[in-house]
């Protein structure tokens, strides 16, 4: 049960939306698909789903191309939420579930279970347009997973949700992974991606600029963050070679340094200057990596 993209390219006229993208997503893996707006994420998803054909290269699922023959194994949460506003949740999910090959008698219990899990069991007979945006999203999520897909594609699943609901949905995604679903998802919320996926790629102009295991990406990034909270002025630290940047915080500053060794130089420099409350060396966050890698494009 592996999703494979081999040298996939999509061109719209002269514009290349996706350029020679190769990915492999095995079973039971959550793959994070990041990228600035317009980097080609949604186009890639549409190619995976078979909604669009690749200009070059191929997308395979277990060695077969994805088409309407195996669409029952696939779940999709589009970035632009879409449900029938006038239909009740029950009718809606029965229709969408049946289109994914489920039987009516299996849909209602599964739906009730999901609504219970998301703590909204009363919504079953409400029209979608009567629900709040966050609750509509829960329904949308249920429509993507109710048929127990083997491949699940989530385009921005957490946008617009409050932290409690994000937590609830995160748990659901993790459980699906444990049950053996391959999950590809895109998000702009880096903390969520860091929590959820071991593997990821960052897209830039249709090309993956960072691709691999999260821990390896962080290690190979090299740079570290150094947090210092002190009572005295820390501006002079930028003069130390190896300090890439300094960002002031209310209680001190955050330094980005080239490698671990630099931290010792900094430590020596502030040692006698006064009272230091915090001195902490940290791995770079995904947010740092993203801003640096994807941000280069804007410069």
């Amino acid at each position: 049960m592996t999703l494979k993209l081999e040298q996939v390219t999509k061109k719209f006229g002269d514009f290349t939306a996706v350029d020679q993208l190769s990915l492999e997503i095995p079973e039971k893996q959550i793959f994070g698909f990041l990228g600035a707006n317009g980097a080609g994420k949604t186009t890639t998803f549409r190619m995976i789903l078979g909604l669009m054909d690749a200009t070059q290269g191929k997308v395979t699922w277990n060695g077969n191309s994805i088409d309407y023959g195996n669409s029952n194994d696939i779940g999709y949460l589009p970035e632009e939420r879409g449900l029938y506003p006038k239909l009740k949740v029950r009718e809606q999910l029965i229709y969408l579930g049946r289109l994914r090959g489920m039987h009516k008698k299996d849909i209602v219990p599964a739906l009730e279970e999901w609504l219970e899990r998301f703590k909204v069991p009363d919504y079953i007979d409400k029209k979608v347009e009567e629900l709040s945006k966050g609750n509509q999203q829960k329904i949308q999520f249920i429509s993507a997973v109710i048929h127990k897909p083997k491949l699940l594609i989530l385009d921005e699943p957490f946008s617009g949700l409050d932290p409690v609901n994000v937590e609830m949905m995160l748990k659901a995604v993790e459980d699906l992974k444990e049950a053996g679903t391959s999950i590809v998802f895109s998000s702009h919320q880096m903390e969520v991606v860091e929590d959820l996926c071991e593997h990821l790629c960052i897209m830039q102009h249709g090309k993956p600029i960072v691709h691999g295991k999260l821990t390896e990406i962080k290690r190979s990034f090299g740079k570290k963050n150094l947090f210092i909270h002190a009572d005295f002025d820390l501006d002079f630290l930028t003069d130390i070679s190896g300090v890439v940047s300094q960002k002031k915080t209310p209680e001190g500053c955050k330094l980005q340094i080239e490698n671990e060794e630099i931290s010792q130089k900094v430590f020596a420099a502030i040692q006698d200057k006064g009272f230091v409350r915090r001195f902490e060396l940290e791995e770079p966050s995904l947010n740092d990596i993203f801003i640096e890698k994807a941000g280069e494009a804007y410069e």
Binding site: M52, D53, Y76, P78, Y84, L99
Partner: protein, 424 residues
């Protein structure tokens, strides 16, 4: 097998959600009430028209003979007007009218030729019914008196006014087939009328419904989920056929209710509908043609509507885009209306092969003329080819178009949609 299954799911969904919708139930109900009302129009008018209340007209007769003839005449016909000889002057009678005793005063004098001359005095000038009845009856009396004075016999008069005997005889044509008889023509004409209105109604209503349905799925963005679960082509046709079945349900209901009404009211004026249109004289072949052309016409316009519906991204744009479709059907309708009196004109012959006009114009020709079978076959073949072509293009536009969310819809979007769906 699986695809077929999803086709049915979409079809059933389309049918039932529409069928259960308030708008469908309300329109159907309004139409049924309208049909019931039309069938019972006489009883309804009767309700408002109080039969017992008679309008009394005062007659001031200075000739002393006309009043008797007039009241005899009135007694023979069924109407709500009664005459009363008024003893007094016209001025006195007018006073009586003002007091509400009479609706008007008829004053009859004698001209110098000894023929009646009359004037009617009333305060209700708008009620022309009484005036015209009085005038008609007086006219008859005048004609009778005048001919009598001229010494013309009553039987001579009758023969003058008798209608001419005029027959139209069909000549056998060379191929041995007979030209259509007058009865057949009348029947065909009736069926053409029915067909024209039904097709017009069906295209406007159900074509729009299809376009709306698709635009709705696009604007609510549920389309992306739909086309990731089942093929756009099967969805498009499931919609077209689902709404066709809905249309047949609705039209069927109207026809059944209408038929029952006509059966019950056979003896009343409405019962004459069938005779007027001569629907009982139609050959089986014409009926079959009617069904074939109706279904093909619906499919053609429905496919076109579905294609256009998939191009828009907001409901408000549907009407704008449906304009060309509506214009096409209006042109077809006008052509057929015009052609009913000149089915043999070359305009009809040419336009009957243009697929968008075929269902109306070719059907009209088939019903009213002896069109060679190959011509009918050819026009049907052209229609089927056009439907297939539109379905092919439509499916591609549908596939690409549903992923496009631009503003407005134009030829550019159409090309863009084709491009998006291109297989490379």
């Amino acid at each position: 097998m699986k695809l077929m299954n999803k086709f049915w799911i979409v079809l059933k969904h389309t049918y039932w959600t529409r069928f259960k919708s308030k708008s469908f139930i309300i329109t159907t109900a309004i139409f049924l009430v309208f049909i019931l009302g039309l069938a019972n129009i006489q009883s309804i008018i009767g309700l408002f028209d109080n039969e017992d209340e008679q309008d009394i007209v005062a007659v001031v007769d200075q000739t002393d003979e006309i009043y008797d003839m007039l009241s005899q005449n009135f007694a023979q016909t069924d109407n709500n007007i009664s005459l009363e000889l008024f003893d007094g002057t016209v001025e006195d009678a007018e006073e009586a009218v003002k007091s509400g005793e009479y609706v008007g005063v008829l004053s009859i004098q004698s001209s110098k030729d000894n023929l009646p001359v009359a004037s009617y005095h009333t305060s209700q000038l708008s009620n022309t019914r009484i005036q015209s009845q009085l005038e008609n009856h007086l006219q008859q009396i005048k004609v009778a008196l005048a001919t009598n004075q001229a010494g013309i016999d009553q039987s001579v008069l009758e023969s003058i006014y008798a209608p001419i005997e005029f027959d139209t005889v069909a000549i056998e044509n060379e191929s041995g087939g007979e030209a259509k008889t007058e009865e057949e023509l009348n029947g065909a004409r009736g069926l053409v009328y029915v067909m024209l209105f039904l097709l017009y109604f069906a295209v406007l209503t159900y074509g729009n419904m299809i376009a709306m349905d698709i635009a709705n799925e696009k604007s609510s963005r549920v389309m992306e989920i739909l086309i990731s679960s089942s093929s756009p082509v099967s969805q498009m046709f499931a919609k077209i056929i689902g709404i066709a079945l809905l249309g047949l349900t609705q039209i069927g209901l109207f026809l059944i209710v209408g038929f029952i009404m006509i059966q019950q009211k056979q003896d009343e004026l409405v019962g004459g509908f069938f005779e007027f249109f001569g629907l009982s004289e139609i050959s089986v072949a014409t009926f079959i043609y009617a069904i074939v052309f109706f279904l093909l016409g619906y499919l053609l316009y429905a496919t076109l509507s579905a294609m256009l519906g998939s191009l828009v991204s907001r409901m408000e744009e549907v009407n704008q885009l449906m304009m060309p479709v509506i214009l096409l059907i209006v042109v077809a309708f006008m052509l057929a209306m015009f052609g009913i009196s000149v089915p043999e004109s070359s305009v009809m012959t040419v336009t009957s092969f243009i697929p968008f006009f075929t269902p109306m114009v070719m059907f009209l020709r088939v019903g009213m003329l002896d069109v060679p079978i190959w011509e009918v076959g050819l026009s049907i073949a052209i229609m089927i080819a056009t439907i297939a072509f539109l379905a092919f293009i439509g499916a591609r536009v549908y596939r690409g178009g549903v992923l496009m969310y631009g503003r407005g819809a134009s030829l550019k979007d159409f090309k863009q949609a084709m491009k998006l769906s291109k297989k490379e």
